[in-house]
């Protein structure tokens, strides 16, 4: 991808600005590939926030207590808000919300693969909040330093709100682990199913990541996939052990020399299969988004009609 970029006179200045850790702002000149790369990444991020509402929304009506239900509602509402921050950041690059949604519906634009896994039990809501949101946070904290100003600022806002998400998830797991044998088994089962997909969230190994090299050069990405994944493993393993959960990886062990955990091989075939659209819930997730979008059309139409009427009224008064 990087090889066929033709160097424009401005490109050198642009890179110099990036190298000097200066942010790029919406009205600055930027290489077209930088703009496209950002639109791809930010919209994928936005879609992930919104599609991620589905596995969690699945449990709102079945949360075990009223308090858990209120907490889950608040979290899902946050995710919708995060989607909005990110779509708005993408829109500063000259793309419309309609185009972004259309690309999602046509399968051109992706979202985080992890949301193609089902949330089968209440413990999955704990695992999602803790494991999935923690992984997202590790990534997002590094993106607070991304080179594009509006994206970086959206990340700051989002990270501030995320810590509640991971804590409520961890709290669900902790309470289950303090419960009956059945509840502990349920928590461990969720751990077993979500652990590996959570590690896949960081993407392919550095050498095999399609966009990594260019994104690092442009400082859209600040740390490599493997680097972020290692940080995540080190944190999550300690958190799992603290509440009595077993990490489903026989190769997991502390490496004294590296001062990191060594961990087993990730099943990249599964990763590719899910990205290609053949995970357990891909079709369901997309179909649901399309259905919700189409069923909401009358609301968008009504808003447009109301706005047109108001504009006309204002024009008549003036």
């Amino acid at each position: 991808m990087a090889d066929n970029i033709v160097a424009l006179p401005n490109e050198e200045q642009f890179q110099a600005r990036i190298d000097a850790e200066e942010k790029i702002e919406p009205k600055d000149w930027m290489p077209e590939k930088y703009r496209q790369n950002l639109i791809r990444q930010i919209s994928q991020h936005a879609h992930s926030e919104v599609i991620g509402e589905q596995p969690e929304g699945n449990w709102i009506t079945r949360a075990p207590t009223l308090e858990r239900k209120a907490i889950l509602l608040a979290k899902v509402q946050d995710e919708a808000g995060h989607g909005l921050y990110l779509y708005s950041a993408a829109e500063t690059l000259g793309v419309t919300r309609e185009e972004l949604i259309d690309r999602l519906h046509k399968g051109v634009s992706k979202y985080a693969s992890i949301f193609n896994y089902p949330s089968l039990t209440w413990a999955d809501i704990g695992a999602i909040g803790w494991l999935v949101d923690s992984a997202a946070i590790v990534n997002q904290v590094s993106l607070q330093n991304t080179s594009y100003g509006p994206y970086a600022r959206a990340m700051v806002r989002i990270c501030k709100e995320e810590s509640f998400h991971q804590r409520q998830g961890y709290n669900i797991m902790m309470v289950l682990m303090q419960g009956s044998e059945e509840q502990r088994a349920m928590a461990q089962d969720a751990m077993n199913r979500w652990w590996w997909p959570a590690l896949m969230m960081f993407g392919p190994h550095d050498g095999e990541s399609a966009h990594s090299a260019q994104s690092m050069k442009w400082k859209i990405k600040r740390r490599t996939n493997d680097d972020l994944r290692q940080q995540y493993v080190d944190q999550a393993v300690q958190q799992a052990h603290a509440i009595g959960l077993t990490v489903p990886d026989l190769d997991l062990k502390w490496n004294e020399q590296r001062e990191h955990f060594d961990f087993g091989a990730i099943d990249w075939d599964e990763f590719q299969r899910v990205i290609a659209g053949n995970g357990p819930c891909n079709r369901q997730r997309l179909a649901h988004h399309i259905q919700a979008h189409e069923e909401g059309k009358w609301v968008r139409d009504a808003m447009a009609a109301f706005e047109a009427k108001r504009r006309k009224q204002r024009a008549d008064v003036a």
């Binding site: 702002e25 907490i71 961890y170 709290n171 509440i243």
Partner: protein, 119 residues
Amino acid sequence: MMPWLPSKRSVVSSALTLRNKWDRLMADHLQLFEVFIRSRRGLDHKHVGSLHADDPEQALEYARDVYTRRGEGVSIWVVASKDITASQESDCDSFYDPLDDKPYRHASMYELPEGVDSL
């Protein structure tokens, strides 16, 4: 009556004339603009104050002269004050009411077991 002092009536009428002139001046020419400055690349634009100007371009130049004489900023936004819709602090109670009873939105509500950090 002292001839060197204007009559009460003429004071009122000249005040009115001034007032009318000012209104007309305001109406004809001077709009109020709010000024926002980005002090450094990567930071948000922050509100710094307001000024009167004929049009947005002039407001931008005035803002430069008034608010950034000492290198305070790298970018200025000017927005016509009339275009800003604002909530009122006096309405806080009712405006934010539905949001105030949700302590579970704060991470600090969830206690962590001993030895766990990075959450």
